[in-house]
Amino acid sequence: MGELRKKAQGLAAKPWFRMPRQPMLRHLSYAAVAVVFLYFLTQKLSAFNDYEVGEIAFYVVALAGLTLLTGVNGQISLGHGGFMAVGGFTLALLVEHTKWNVVPELAIAIVTSALVGALIGIPATRLRGPYLAGMTLMVALGLPYLTNQYDSFFGGDQGLTTPQPIGPASINPEQWLAWIQLACALIVLILLGNLLRSRFGRSFRAVRDDEIAASLAGIHVARTKVIAFMVSAGCAGLAGALLALSAGGVNSAEFPLSISIYLLAGMVIGGTGSLMGVWWGAILIVYLPTSWAPSLANHFHVNSQVSANLAVIIFGLVLVVGMLVAPGGIQGALRWVAVRVGAYFSPDGVPNMKLSLQEAPTDRAVHDSESVTQADKPGV
């Protein structure tokens, strides 16, 4: 072991490879690695698995937006499924009434849901507290009713159809769709990654940690919160439009409250505020309801009533237990391990502070903003 430790210390002292410091370059190089990996993955997998990879991709988009809102800016949305519905229906209406290419349709879906987001976000900034949470919950619960009310426009129970985009003949349609969705996911992650390292990202965090201090530092608090919420709702809209492409159509039953719950649980399990953690969350959202929960139910021979509700119960437990026991999620746990392993191998035996300082602030809102809250409301 001493041998290994010495060797590792030698490596650590003189790294053979260093990621570029410039955020754009660094994020692009991560993305390049991901592109190569995902290309070979989608080639290897069956058409159905490609479809699932595509699903993971659009949940990554939605989760990235949500984790930025909650983990980085300290606001919460219980109804991101509602904004996905806005994006999905926008795309479907454009398909119905125009003959455009899929790219402008996706762009308009993003803009529309960002604008709806602004409509909800602006009044919510007038007060601190749980207003945004309640209002977003209302969006998610109320939207299906709205599409039912105007069913001639939104297609009623049947909904509207969204045909899959057709690629080159040599590539099968599932794979082509998965590539479109993965491309969107990577682009969103690169853009959000850069955003978080920019002036905007810093003001998002400043507002989260202390609104009064942020406004004293010259940050327009309300505007910052609205921008964060619009970015987040826009991501959800894009995800909803991509979901519509996967599903081949949209109707009001396709965006139930459970999607919003899945998203929240996916964010918590991945690690709130972590753009890498969203992949864990997306995998959970895709596989838990359709494959893991049913096989668990099979294994324990429970009746159909229980198995139908098992996924929802597990997601509820993830939210409650995750928040109480492991607010950092999977990414937080990995970071915990990395810091300790790093401490073992580093020459002076102290944790690699650079790593923890760089990474820690992104999820502070959820697990240690005690100082802020206590000053705010002592003793509660």
């Binding site: 509700n309 437990l317 939210l319 409650v320 809102a365 959820v366 903003s369 003793g379 509660v380």
Partner: protein, 292 residues
């Protein structure tokens, strides 16, 4: 005219139920700055228990009392197990935990009782009354709804304004640290607040279930109406909860009656947006200075 009158009466009955939900939300928000999104689901679970008691052959009133008592216990237990560990953490954690608990309870209810709808009886006739020659849509059950919620409000008023316990609860809600320094035991009072709030939610559930039928998610929409009422009235004002509840119930009844019932949830959202734009603190809330 008769249509308008009937809608108005229906709106008042709904408004009283919404006011009870809002009162439950306000009780908790005043004391702990948390909106309990699980309140509706907790009341739903209790209503299923009342349903089971009813089907054991006991009368309505026994089921009613059992439901309220279970609700009190459930609220206290929730506070001790789930909410107490969140003390001093970011309010976001509490929102996520109560929302997760909502989902968990709805899944659990679905697993135990299935998702089929059940009918829950009303203690009084739900048929409208004839006064002279005009049929009005205000049944004896609606009278019971109004009286029950009024009784709840009066009980709360007496508790908070007239008793020593109520004074201590108000002190805890207003300035917890100071109250603790003066010898008030803060934690049991917070637990009591959660118990009372859950009971208010259960009352609302029992009043709404005869008209809406029992399913695992029958309280979802009532909860968001209660939230609307609480925002309109001011999230920390019990009087505001009553007025906000009536305002919400009436506005939704007019929207539902004249424009279409499916628009009600969105109308509630519009009401929240408008009231936050015009009077962000709500109608009755005290202005809250923010500590730096």
């Amino acid at each position: 005219m008769q249509f308008f009158l009937n809608i108005t009466l229906g709106g008042i009955a709904t408004g009283m139920i919404v006011a009870a939900v809002a009162l439950g939300l306000v009780l908790i928000f005043r004391a702990t700055n948390i909106v309990n999104f699980a309140q509706g689901a907790m009341a739903m679970m209790t209503t299923y228990i009342a349903y089971a008691v009813l089907h054991k052959g006991s009368g309505y009133w026994l089921a009613f009392v059992v439901a309220l008592a279970t609700g009190l216990l459930f609220g206290a237990l929730t506070q001790v197990v789930l909410i107490r560990p969140l003390q001093g953490k970011s309010p976001l954690n509490a929102i996520i935990v109560t929302f997760g608990f909502l989902i968990f309870l709805e899944g659990l209810a679905g697993a135990i009782w299935g998702s089929q709808t059940r009918t829950f009886p009303a203690p009084f006739s739900e048929a409208g009354q004839k006064i002279g020659n005009t049929q009005i849509a205000f049944s004896p059950f609606d009278v019971f709804v109004v009286l029950a919620v009024l009784a709840l409000m009066i009980l709360m008023l007496v508790l908070f304004r007239g008793t020593d316990l109520g004074l201590r609860m108000r002190a805890v809600a207003f300035a917890p640290e100071t109250a603790r320094l003066l010898g008030v035991r803060v934690r049991p009072l917070l637990t009591l607040g959660w118990a009372l709030s859950a009971a208010a939610g259960v009352l609302a559930a029992l009043l709404v279930v005869p008209t809406s039928s029992l399913t695992p998610n029958f309280m979802d929409v009532i909860l968001i109406y209660g939230f609307t009422a609480a925002v309109v009235g001011g999230l920390d004002s019990p009087v505001g909860a009553l007025v906000g509840g009536l305002a919400t119930g009436l506005s939704l009844a007019y929207v539902g009656g004249y424009l279409g019932g499916s628009l009600e949830p969105m109308a509630a959202l519009a009401l929240v947006i408008v009231s936050l734009m015009i009077r962000p603190e709500g109608l009755f809330a005290r202005p809250a200075p923010r500590r730096v």
